[in-house]
């Protein structure tokens, strides 16, 4: 499942609910989860808020495509991707990825791949508000790998 939400999300509730309804749960031996959170600094500056812009007609489609590529490439039982858009505050969850597979290697690697692919293949853009009230578009993702 893919969810694009303009409201605050509870990653743990989303993951628990999704896992509870997985089909053939007995064949799932591994679950890997990633949660991206909004931090209070970027590129040496204090950040107090952020807006995530999407291209609505394309973002959802790109996330669906990404999810299916993960399931195919890593032979996952299932995958969940949730991404926030709109206004976010410090500590808010930005993105949630859940990958379920028979064995841990696939779940771990798919979770990692989800984030790397998301950062290049999905039309989303961050605009930060700094402590002095100014705003700026984030021009590139931090390496962070």
């Amino acid at each position: 499942m893919v969810i694009v939400s303009d409201a605050a999300i509870d990653p743990y509730q989303l993951l628990a609910n999704y896992e509870a309804q997985l089909s053939a749960r007995g064949s799932v031996g591994a679950a890997a989860h990633f949660i991206g959170l909004m931090r209070e600094f970027n590129e040496g500056d204090d950040v107090v808020g952020m807006t995530l812009e999407q291209y609505p007609e394309m973002t959802r489609r790109a996330l669906d495509k990404l999810r299916l590529s993960l399931i195919d490439d890593f032979e996952l039982n299932d995958a969940l991707i949730v991404h926030r858009v709109g206004a976010l505050q410090i500590t808010d969850p930005i993105v949630v990825v859940g990958c379920w597979s028979a064995h841990r290697k696939a779940a771990f690697e798919a979770c990692r791949a989800a984030m790397e692919r998301l950062k290049s293949d999905v039309p989303l853009w961050k605009k930060e508000t700094l402590a002095d009230g100014s705003t700026r578009w984030v021009e590139q993702n931090t390496p962070g790998y």
């Binding site: 291209y55 007609e57 993105v95 984030m115 039309p123 989303l124 853009w125 961050k126 605009k127």
Partner: protein, 76 residues
């Protein structure tokens, strides 16, 4: 007509989020890009999509298409 959309920073720099242009025979994404982004102020790489799928500049466009231009993505 071709609908041209501008996202994120480009929407602010162009001053509107979309406009329509007339389609021409043999038109490509690069032709449209040149029309809007030849100014030196557009220094960042500009990506593009045709009908909601990423594409490259050599992609042909035709009447009824939706073309979008945007900066490198920064989600996640």
């Amino acid at each position: 007509m071709i609908e041209v959309k501008f996202l994120a920073r480009l929407k602010e720099e162009i001053g509107q989020d979309s406009m329509e242009i007339a389609a021409r025979d043999g038109m490509t994404i690069a032709d449209i890009k040149q029309q809007f982004f030849s100014d030196a102020q557009f220094q960042l790489p500009i990506l593009q999509a045709l009908n909601h799928e990423f594409c490259d500049e050599t992609t042909a466009v035709s009447d009824g298409d939706i073309v979008a231009f945007f900066p490198p993505v920064t989600g996640g």
